[in-house]
Symmetry: C2
Subunit: 256 residues, 2 copies
């Protein structure tokens, strides 16, 4: 189940905090899904309502697994201070007495796109390839060292910029989605807080250059998971447009 | 991580052996990857050498995980008679003193396609989406009841026909691959033996209609895993032709 390569750098010197952050940012430039053609079409206003529905419905599966992913990470730390900090993520997504939480907010986005919350929440029409990619995220946080599990969250270093752009473009090109953007609004502040904690954590806990390289590789692997989800959407709903048996089908192809 | 739907059929009567087999065969008609456009192109002689290389290199990851999958199933049975029967599969793929085994034979296919065995075996250029789909197969056999883990192997009910056709078409359209077909030759007898054992097992051990429906669903899920691997190949190497960062790239596009 190995993925990618980690340089043999055991004897190399440790990266400084700034160097590590720069290396992580470089991974983002190369592999984060802000560059994916599906997102480019989205931001150019070229997706149909059906394609945006397919995106919202599939990405719901990702959203719904995030607090499970974070609960796995919680379960793997013997440090109560770490767990107190990390559990914020579970609350952010599952909600509490004061807040609906990210999963409910994502369902609002689906409704704005024209899909019943119950239909989205059922997960019945999700692409198999979406499930496989997201489940691999669970595999990673279950089976790799905690350091790498934490590092795999570091795509949040890049998400604020993408979310800001996406909100602007959605309001511009798909104004009928404007009522469903609460999820993104919340992430504008949550994601940078989480990323700041996680990057401090991996810097503090990677004690060798080899471990630092594994941190960087974990981020690469997470970027691949996000990328693969958009590949699957593009293949099924844009070009050639072949959803597999049982997956969500677009009913009308009018330009959104 | 739920996938698909299982009919609520607790009170329905048990299917007979013939009915269960017919239901499983129907899943194959609808979902087995013999219908996938990548295979159709392959059998029409329309794939380039580079596309066949991408197929051999990616499917190697699947082949390499099969004995691991079967070892997980072995590890989950408390019945020595079952384990004695099932371990044949590990031997078939890993080999023994008398036989190279399926993994080595697959590397020969890769060599016939023009790829170094070491390059294929490294797994470095495998599509992330291939790994996610195959790893989901491991997830299934690890986490679902043993009955369903066994049922997920039942695509072997259909593989003989596909392999026969593939060998014929490869000799016809890609004669330079002919020296690499030992893997398929061996599977012509191994797969039907394995399928006969597994279908008897699931019939004997599914004690309710609900369990029979879960057997059928496990086969559906396995078909989806095979299908998704070809979707990923098609997307990366046929149309639009976008391998993700780090994946195998076709060097020359001459018609094979």
């Amino acid at each position: 189940m190995a993925s990618g390569t980690v340089e043999h750098a055991a004897e190399a010197r440790l990266l400084t905090f700034d160097e590590l952050r720069a290396a992580l940012r470089q991974v983002g430039e190369e592999r984060y899904h802000h560059q994916h053609p599906f997102h480019l079409l989205m931001h150019q206003g070229k997706l149909t309502r059906g394609q945006l529905q397919a995106w919202a419905l599939n990405r719901y599966y990702y959203q719904s697994m995030i607090p499970i992913k974070d609960a796995i990470i919680l379960s793997r730390s013997e440090d109560a201070a770490f767990r107190r900090a990390w559990r914020k993520r579970v609350v952010d997504h599952d909600g509490d007495a004061n807040s609906a939480g990210g999963i409910q907010r994502w369902l609002k986005l689906g409704e704005a796109a024209g899909l019943d919350a119950a239909r989205v929440a059922s997960g019945r029409e999700v692409l198999p390839a979406t499930r496989y990619a997201v489940n691999e995220y669970l595999n990673i946080v279950r089976t790799r060292p905690l350091l790498e599990a934490v590092a795999s969250s570091l795509t949040e270093l890049f998400s604020r910029d993408l979310i800001s752009l996406r909100m602007e473009k959605m309001r511009q090109h798909y104004p009928w989605l404007s009522g469903g953007l609460d999820y993104f609004e919340a992430r504008l502040t949550q994601a940078p807080e989480d990323a700041a904690f996680a990057i401090e954590y991996v810097y503090e806990h990677a004690e060798t250059r080899t471990q630092q390289e594994k941190v960087i590789q974990a981020l690469r692997d997470k970027c691949d998971i996000l990328w693969a989800q958009l590949d699957a959407l593009y293949f099924a709903y844009v070009q050639p447009g072949w959803p597999p048996p049982g997956a969500f089908r677009v009913e009308s192809e009018e330009k959104a």
